[in-house]
């Protein structure tokens, strides 16, 4: 299966990319009532909110969602049904939950993963001045999308 134009593939699991994209789009449509669109060329904008969920078992790796703060506030607002100015500590909870749902929805679409793959409690990082080091042999699946015209990067690091 060929990846869509919204994807950047650097992995032997490239055929999982469309499934990751479908799973992510479904979460945003059902839970936030909005459609993700395909991203154009990167603007280099700082993505200073990162939500991560680890997986263990048949799939060992880390699912990561990155966006800017305005985008994260909008997501939390849509998910919780409250005005953006009322979003405070809920932002991290909402981002973690969205990442958890994307990871769960993805694993449930892969034959054999639903039963034998466990997800961690989400972690949310604010700020962009950090480096993420995965094992050297990790494969990376990455989707570059737009949420309300703001950049959204969803990636899955797969550890062999």
């Amino acid at each position: 299966m060929k990846a869509s134009s919204a994807t950047l593939a650097v992995s032997a699991h490239e055929h999982w990319l469309p499934l990751l994209e479908v799973g992510a789009r479904e979460v945003f449509e059902v839970m936030l009532g909005c459609h993700l669109t395909t991203a154009g060329p990167s603007t280099g904008e700082s993505l200073n909110i990162t939500a991560m969920v680890g997986s263990a078992g048949k799939l060992r790796g880390v699912m990561r969602i990155q966006c800017n703060k305005k985008s994260a506030i909008t997501m939390a607002s849509k998910m919780l049904g409250v005005e953006t100015y009322k979003i405070g500590p809920e932002l991290a909870d909402a981002m973690g939950e969205i990442c958890n749902m994307v990871a769960g929805n993805f694993k449930n679409t892969i034959s054999g993963l639903s039963d034998g793959c466990m997800l961690s409690v989400p972690t949310v990082i604010t700020g962009s001045d950090y480096n993420l080091h995965s094992p050297a042999d990790s494969e990376i699946l990455e989707l570059k999308l737009l949420f309300e015209n703001m950049p959204l990067v969803i990636s899955l690091a797969i550890h062999s």
Partner: protein, 69 residues
Amino acid sequence: MPVMDGLEFVKQLSGVANAKDVPVVMITTEGSEAHVVQALSCGARGYIRKPFTAEQVKEHVIPVLGVKA
């Protein structure tokens, strides 16, 4: 969930005297049939997979509450 997972929570809740009759509908990203069976056998009264719609919540919660939609 931190501390314990949903299945463990439902098991422990069923052992609490003044809470054991509280109906629990699990909302989870776990999607396997085996997990559904396990949840129901632990005492959950319903099971909703994420992502979910408001209609799905009504469909599962209203029967548990024993009220008319």
